[in-house]
């Protein structure tokens, strides 16, 4: 019998040795059993405009969390009534939470408002395994700049898989600067470790909080936006489809970025986000689409400024080169129409009156230069000049989801016509900004900015400083020089000044402000022309460069130019005095054409 005692004793000791000393898994289970890791969510960074005006802040709300392993026998009916959910919903949420983890908290019901929170919290002691987690949600002071801010949503499974920082239920910036500056804005989560008993009751901090980490609040962003200008731009764009981009040429700072129609950014916050997002998504006017960055338009006549600069640089024209325009350009059966204007025209006047004949001639001369062996080589040379204005390539700045635009490659034409099958004649519409060319409003504004700077641009960007207004964002300091000699710019700027002063854009002249601009009317096979205008002012030391595109509205001079003019007046004078001029724009409605002021 003693032998049996000893045998059993040895078996016990061996088993205990393997349980207590060899197998680490029980120690892990034990800590998960008793510790509740409560995430301390930091407040997301605030967002300010360039003058320190608060644009985006946070509002508290509460998530009801559940640790399925700690949920005891609860009165489900009472619980469902408390939360105002159905029995099915309870079961579904519970099984989702179980799928996530038995021992870790999952969100059971998210975004409980402050007033319901107080009531629920009072009753919660009856339901072990449930606790409340304070969170914050975005709140937008002004219903504006939705596309710039982007929005915040719960991290998707893909985000969670790719980045260990995120857990289900975490928020992450999904578009706009919320996405680009996610790491700065989100801060660092902290964790509070609480000891809980089997019934899920918290009994105190674990080891006096020795292992708790404090959440670091997100860093604030100081944007380059001028909120007054932004709001004014959105107001001008009401009932219109298109966009406005305004840039400070010397720095590349984006003063305003309007994409119209837009939406209230507060719609994409919290529990209503999914529903509102679907609604916005199915809206035929596509308000979610950020036209300023993503819509590509052939630039039309505004492109003539680049085209002419290339002509001057390539010395196929000189300031005094004149041409008499018969009202059209005709070559081998192809005709490009021109409008009535004084004749003959020199370089400056060709810009001022937006002469198509002159532009096509100049373009063909650039392409047909003898120094090039073939069309591919000469076209590539021209294309490089164009691209040096930031066209047809991505800025890779702090605004996600931009389109690169399109300046077709020589291969593209080779593919269509064969390598010997195309010539300057084939592609001459490029000279007047039509054809295989797509430029975004952001790129158009950058062209204005580049010309205003007389030959260089700094990459347009939206954030000026991070964390502290003095902690400047130096990522976009580099000067991108164009391939055009600086000496040619003055003539073009002078021409653009005259466009506004006495040319196609004279209607939009501002008393006391020397504004340089160029109108464009983009032929649109699907309907009314797009009205386009680029400008900068004051012409000699520009503080603002701007592009305006208004889809399906008509001539550039009629709609886009006045909008740009008002924006510049607003920015430089901080007020607009031309009431009637402003009212005409505010009244214009191109979304419901029956209200079109010109429709008789």
């Amino acid at each position: 019998m003693i032998a049996i005692f000893v045998a059993i004793g040895v078996i016990f000791i061996v088993k205990l040795f393997s349980l207590q000393v060899l197998d680490p898994s029980y120690k892990l289970s034990a800590s998960q059993n008793i510790l509740r890791h409560i995430t301390d969510y930091p407040a997301r960074g605030l967002i300010y405009d360039r003058n320190g005006e608060l644009l985006v802040h946070n509002e508290p709300f509460y998530d009801l969390m559940v640790i399925p392993g700690q949920v005891g026998e609860i009165d489900t009916t009472a619980f469902c009534n408390l939360l105002e959910i159905t029995r099915e919903s309870f079961e579904r949420r519970m099984s989702e939470a179980k799928q996530h983890s038995y021992y870790q908290g999952s969100i059971f019901l998210s975004q409980i408002a402050k007033d319901s929170y107080a009531y629920i919290q009072e009753q919660l002691y009856k339901f072990p395994g449930f606790y409340v987690q304070p969170r914050t949600l975005r709140n937008y002071v002004y219903s504006t700049a939705a596309h710039t801010f982007g929005y915040v949503g719960e991290a998707s499974q893909r985000v969670i898989d790719n980045n260990p920082y995120y857990r289900p239920g975490d928020y992450v910036g999904i578009s706009g600067i919320e996405k680009y500056y996610e790491e700065q804005l989100r801060g660092e989560k902290g964790v509070k470790i609480k000891v809980v008993d089997a019934l899920g009751r918290e009994t105190g901090p674990y080891q006096e909080g020795r292992f708790d980490t404090i959440a670091n609040a997100g860093k604030d962003l100081y944007t380059t936006l001028d909120i007054d200008l932004q709001l004014y731009g959105e107001k001008l764009m009401q009932n219109k489809i298109g966009s406005i981009v305004a840039i400070e040429p010397s720095s590349g700072e984006i003063l305003s970025m309007v994409s119209s129609p837009s939406y209230d950014p507060n719609l994409l916050v919290g529990r209503v986000r999914g529903l509102n997002f679907r609604q916005l998504h199915t809206d035929t006017l596509n308000p979610i689409f950020n036209r300023a960055l993503m819509a590509e338009y052939p630039p039309g006549s505004v492109f003539k400024v680049i085209s002419t600069l290339i002509g001057l640089h390539e010395e196929v024209v000189y300031p005094g080169t004149t041409l008499s325009c018969p009202g059209y350009y005709h070559s081998r059966g192809i005709t490009v129409r021109c409008r009535e204007h004084p004749n003959p025209v020199n370089v400056k006047e060709s810009i001022k009156y937006s002469c198509n004949t002159y532009a096509v001639n100049l373009f063909r001369d650039v392409i047909d230069q003898y120094r090039f062996e073939n069309i591919q080589e000469s076209y590539t040379n021209w294309r490089n000049h164009v691209q040096s204005f930031g066209v047809g390539r991505a800025f890779n700045n702090d605004l996600p989801y931009e389109q690169r635009g399109l300046i077709a490659s020589p291969n593209y034409y080779d593919g269509i016509y064969g390598s010997n099958g195309w010539s300057s004649l084939t592609i001459m519409s490029l000279g007047i900004g039509q054809g295989e060319m797509g430029i975004t409003p952001m790129q158009l504004a950058n062209i204005a900015s580049t010309i205003g700077n007389r030959g260089y641009y700094k990459t347009p960007h939206i954030v000026r400083a991070i964390d502290d207004p003095e902690n400047e964002n130096n990522n976009f300091e580099e000067k991108h020089n164009t391939t055009i000699d600086e000496e040619h710019y003055d003539l073009i700027i002078e021409a653009m000044f005259e466009v506004v002063d006495e040319g196609t854009g004279r209607f939009s002249r501002i008393e006391g402000i020397e504004m340089a601009g160029k109108t464009g009317t983009v032929q649109n096979p699907h309907g009314e022309n797009h009205s386009v205008f680029i400008a900068f002012a004051p012409k000699d030391d520009p503080e603002i460069a701007i592009s305006v595109v208004i889809e399906n509205s008509g001539y550039g001079a009629t709609w886009a130019a006045p909008v740009a003019s008002l924006m510049i007046e607003k920015y430089l004078n901080r007020q607009v005095d031309r009431r009637w001029f402003e009212q005409r724009i505010l009244d214009a409605n191109f979304i419901n054409p029956e209200k079109h002021p010109d429709a008789e």
Binding site: M1, G9, Q20, D23, K27, S29, N33
Partner: protein, 421 residues
């Protein structure tokens, strides 16, 4: 009588007495550890289990000194009387008793509940010792073998009717004592052990493998005993009988055992069992013990038991608290303490000149060993969860008092080990 009483402390076996006291206080300390919350600061809080345990310990010491002061002859004389006193008590608990956790084994008196089956153990031990010591013939007949089995069966059945399977099985522990006295042959014991092993094996492995194994073993033995035809036939018969038994296991398991009994066996052998449901107790118990590590978390530092993750933490699962707070070191020490205690009991039993004392000693050792083996075995997942207390350690007045009486009757008998009576 005066000199007799004076000598009692000198004559009593010191190692057993000391270990008994140590175990009782280890129990109190760990009941306190399992229950203590920040709001309760003093151990003398009689509304808490540790406070009540102090009362039980005091009562046990009182009972121990009463037993030690009684004349030894009293126990052999009243052996049957005590036994027959407890049988109607066990019956009346079935009628008037209070049901606690589906077991109708309690008399509720004020805030205390008394469990008569805990006292039936020493009564049965006395009766068995009395009967076997009264059989003077060396030639044990079938009638002599049957009678102790009937003595065991009566209380065992009554306790089974209380739905207390654990205590019922404890009565099975008397087979050890019967075996020692030659009232049960080794072959029977071996059969029981084999049947148990085959039962578990059958649930684990496909029965075809087991039958193949049995047949293989039979053939092997047949080769070794080629000549003896009769033995060979017996062996083949045994093999066929065991095969039939193996096939019947599944039927018994599925159709005869109650649901929760099945679950308790399943949790031992099936890793996939739901750890929130039937597997909860065992899993939490293993987590608590396993998390103790080598040196343990320190006294009162245990989190699993203190925070109520382990069920029945101060009674049947008290070993979890020890495992968690004292680690491998402490649990091994406790096991060794029990082994020394049990071995000492057996050695003392052997020295008794009186067969009554010897048999009683074996009964005590058998019961304590069974409790020890099953209780610790279940907390570490070696045997199915059978709710029986760890002697002297677990919280509970009836069990502590019952074990104390059981032990001290033997200690009293032992003081007169050189006498025949």
């Amino acid at each position: 009588m005066r000199p007799h009483q004076f000598n009692i402390l000198k004559d009593i076996d010191k190692p057993l007495l000391i270990i008994y006291v140590i175990l009782v206080f280890i129990g109190l300390a760990n009941i306190y550890a399992a229950e203590i919350e920040d709001t309760h600061t003093t151990i003398f809080d009689f509304s808490q289990s540790y406070g009540k345990q102090i009362i039980f310990i005091a009562a046990s010491f009182l009972m121990a000194s009463i037993i030690l002061s009684v004349d030894v002859k009293w126990f052999s004389t009243f052996g049957y009387a005590i036994y027959w006193f407890f049988i109607p008590v066990l019956i009346s608990v079935l009628i008037f008793g209070t049901e606690i956790k589906a077991t109708k084994a309690w008399f509720q008196i004020g805030s205390f509940a008394i469990q008569p089956s805990e006292f039936a153990k020493f009564a049965l031990a006395l009766a068995i010792a009395k009967y076997i010591s009264s059989v003077k013939t060396k030639n044990i007949r079938f009638k002599n073998r049957l009678k102790p089995l009937i003595l065991i069966a009566i209380p065992a059945l009554l306790v089974l009717m209380q739905n207390d399977v654990g205590t019922t099985l404890v009565f099975g522990a008397f087979v050890f004592a019967l075996y020692r006295e030659g009232y049960l042959s080794g072959i029977v014991l071996a059969f029981i052990a084999m049947a148990m092993i085959l039962f578990i094996l059958t649930l684990l492995v496909n029965e075809l493998f087991i039958i193949a194994g049995l047949a293989g073993t039979t053939i092997l033995i047949l080769f070794m005993i080629q000549k003896k035809k009769a033995a060979a036939l017996q062996l083949i018969g045994l093999c066929i009988a065991l095969s039939a038994y193996v096939y019947s296991v599944d039927y018994v398991f599925e159709n005869v055992l109650q649901h929760h009994h099945k679950e308790r066996i399943t949790v031992l052998i099936d890793d996939e069992i739901d750890m929130r449901g039937p597997g909860y107790n065992l899993n939490q118990s293993k987590i608590a013990i396993g998390s103790g590590g080598f040196w343990g978390k320190g006294y009162l530092e245990g989190t699993q038991t203190k925070l109520d993750f382990v069920p029945e933490q101060n009674t049947d699962f008290i070993f979890c608290t020890i495992g968690e707070e004292w680690g491998f070191f402490g649990s091994t020490a406790l096991i060794l303490l029990f082994l020394i205690f049990l071995t000492r009991l057996i050695l003392l039993a052997e020295k008794q000149r009186s067969s009554f004392s010897r048999i009683y000693g074996y009964c005590v050792a058998s019961i304590l060993f069974f409790h020890f083996a099953i209780n610790i075995g279940m907390t570490i997942g070696l045997v199915p969860i059978i709710g029986i207390p760890l002697p002297f350690i677990s919280y509970g007045g009836s069990s502590l008092l019952g074990f104390t009486i059981l032990l001290f009757i033997f200690l009293k008998l032992d003081t007169k080990k050189l006498e025949r009576f």
